[in-house]
Symmetry: C2
Subunit: 112 residues, 2 copies
């Protein structure tokens, strides 16, 4: 089964530390060392998480002087959010249709 961009985004954010990194980067761009401090996790561990987020297109890094700044790429999150919204809505629509069908065919409805 081929992996899509949505599969990759979901895998990237489906880790509590990576999800919290994404939350922090949504507030503002941060350097790798700021993230290390914030999360009290070793630099290699943070770098590994950032690599996974970058591979999935969720985060991008840029060099500013000697710093490496990280920020999120919101378009990757948007597509995944839209998938979740769609699936949730589809099911809601099915339930609405079913409720209508049941109401229409019930003796109560026929009496009206």
């Amino acid at each position: 089964m081929q992996l899509t961009a949505i599969d990759r985004t979901l895998s990237a954010v489906a880790h509590p530390v990576r999800r919290r990194i994404v939350e922090q980067l949504a507030r503002r761009e941060r350097s790798v060392s700021e993230l290390v401090e914030l999360f009290d996790i070793s630099q290699p561990a943070i770098t590994k998480h950032l690599n996974q987020l970058e591979d999935a297109g969720v985060v991008e890094r840029r060099a500013v002087g000697r710093q490496r700044l990280c920020r999120i790429r919101p378009q990757s999150l948007r597509e995944t959010a839209e998938w979740l919204n769609r699936v949730e809505r589809m099911w809601g629509d099915r339930l609405d249709a079913l409720t209508e069908l049941l109401t229409r065919d019930s003796p109560d409805a026929r009496q009206r």
Copy 2:
């Protein structure tokens, strides 16, 4: 780090097969054997995926006669979609604020 409902939902759907099971169940309720047929995966494998989806609160199963019917629980998806929407929006708002700041302080803007 404590796992939240959102972490559990993300882990559950962060697998291509489970994500496609969720898509199918958003269309309509299905029996386990229908899913086995649809995905051409062994029944134990499908059951394992369904267990993970059920543990995360994404799917629920009910017995109807000798069948086990599966459907999604949209509220779990809604909360996760809202998290993604929020994170994406936060970053968008930061960019808007930054653009405004840059525009306001630029010589072009002062000339207007």
